[in-house]
Symmetry: C2
Subunit: 325 residues, 2 copies
């Protein structure tokens, strides 16, 4: 079993490879090899019983995609993307990587031909949806993105369903919730505060809350997100049928509910480290995001959300803080 992870240097990519290094298995088979790919050098690979190779390159060049696929990986996780803000600022770069990069990989697979038909997991995003929304978004709700990033993700979903229908890939697109608690340093992404207000107080640092505590959002822990990717690589796709883009389950909660969970786990001292500093611009952006899904199909297919926001915080404490508060 040869696994290719495109975008292996990102947070989910690193955690996915680390999980495989620990388990050594996928789809009931022993992993013999992982190829990590990213545009820039990823941190060193984890210790593993199998070979982990690293390739650096830009998939918006078709020859890079061709070279990656020439090794005929059995399972491909395509996590690479120019993120939302950058794809909006740099129209060409966003389309080149997020749309053409994906298409180059799909074409490289198709052009191998014969019986080659790898499992292909794509991380899509709730950014495929655009406001205004119903209170809860059903599986059949239409994709009307309001960013170029969301447009590129929605287009890739369509390509993946068509390439799957034609028998070129065993494709599946997972619309991931916002990953929270994101480890690492606070960042300036508009969604960053959802993680900052938990991660920073847990280690005794202040965090800024730029929006009302009544803002509701859709969350998955990094641990749940990695489990969704692996589950997506393992399920029987005949159960899924031709509609290959799935809203992933998540935890819908308000910022106030996030903070209450923090209080239950780390006490009032942690809660007091959250400073409310309203930011009009961030509030406006966040108001355009979906906040709740009815992920019936994914749940029926065995995808699992975290139990609640307390569980999301506990996963962070276990995975990032060695279980210590």
């Amino acid at each position: 079993m040869h696994v290719l992870v495109i975008g292996a240097g990102g947070m989910l990519g690193q955690k996915l490879v680390k999980t495989f290094a620990l388990t050594g298995k996928l789809r009931g088979q022993r992993i013999s090899r992982i190829t990590r790919h990213d545009a820039v050098l990823a941190p060193p690979p984890p210790v593993s019983a199998f070979d982990i190779q690293t390739q650096i390159g830009d998939i918006s060049h078709s020859e890079v995609a061709t070279k990656l696929i020439a090794e005929r990986p059995d399972v491909i996780f395509h996590l690479a993307a120019i993120v939302s803000g950058e794809a909006e600022d740099n129209f060409e770069k966003g389309y080149n990587v997020n749309l053409y990069g994906t298409r180059h990989v799909l074409e490289a697979i198709r052009l191998i031909g014969g019986s080659y038909c790898p499992r292909f997991l794509f991380t899509s995003s709730i950014a495929v949806f655009g406001a205004p929304f119903p209170e809860s978004i059903e599986d059949t709700y239409f994709t009307t993105p309001l960013t170029s990033y969301g447009t590129q993700k929605a287009i890739c979903e369509l390509l993946i369903s068509d390439y799957a229908r034609r028998g070129f890939i065993q494709g599946l697109s997972l619309r991931m919730p916002t990953v929270c608690v994101r480890p690492g340093k606070p960042n300036k992404a508009a969604s960053g505060f959802f993680s900052n207000i938990i991660r920073e107080p847990l280690v005794g640092h202040e965090a800024i809350l730029p929006v009302s505590d009544q803002v509701r959002h859709w969350h998955a822990s990094p641990r749940a997100a990695v489990a969704m990717l692996i589950h997506g690589a393992e399920i029987d796709l005949t159960q899924v049928g031709p509609r290959r883009a799935l809203n992933m389950p998540g935890v819908s909660c308000t910022v106030a509910q996030q903070i209450a969970a923090l209080g239950r786990i780390a006490g009032d001292k942690a809660v007091r480290l959250i400073k409310s500093v309203p930011d009009e611009a961030i509030s406006r952006i966040v108001a355009g995001w979906p906040s709740r899904f009815d992920a019936k199909r994914a749940l029926a297919l065995g995808f699992k959300a975290d139990e609640d926001f307390d569980a999301i915080i506990r996963a962070h404490v276990e995975d990032e803080l060695q279980g210590k508060l």
Copy 2:
């Protein structure tokens, strides 16, 4: 006012140009020039008070798109497509023309830059939807095409909404009903019988009905379809907002209702020319098509369907048979 019609050699393209030759106007302005573009030579242009030029070329080559757009047309009707069956048989040709051709035109517009922002009308299709369907498809229903053609149309809709949102085009995608009664000879398209069973008996010829007369479908006359394109070029897009793909209104009726309308207009003699010859393959294809829409948004924006199927037949008699039965 310079109008570019891409795909001008097709049935709708020819009728659109003929309409402009008669009215000489669009968006309240005098038309000074029309450029007709197609992959193959179109029939001679109609007599007109303004210049009609014809260009032949394949828009899947970016330089062809660049040359067309260099003339800075004010309004662009993009009707060109590899049709459903051919896009399914020839995967590369379908993507090259239907997806990359459209993208080349959009990119040529964007790269002109400055204040250039033409009105851009795209004919999309109900093929963006894939079975199973609800009884009536709402404006918010998701696009899960089951053909490469439908995939390419759905992707172009997303591109057009994004290019419009970014201010590169005044873009709008119209999901056209099946055009009926299609003039010309009977063809072997799976949908051909919807027109054949009306057009042929009206001139005393037999026609084959390959499906049950309980099959329901969504129709617009060529006249109504041309009026939708012109209306789309004229409406105020601020009313439309960022969701730029619209289900067009149509007439939903069963084959039995089509035949009853034929009887009312041309008598039993015409009806008796329809021979039922069930075809399993065609019945199966047609069962995968949507049959009814709730086109609320388009109706509110002033798009108009034919009044009923009788009106569709009368339009055919007037426009194609000089009003004579």
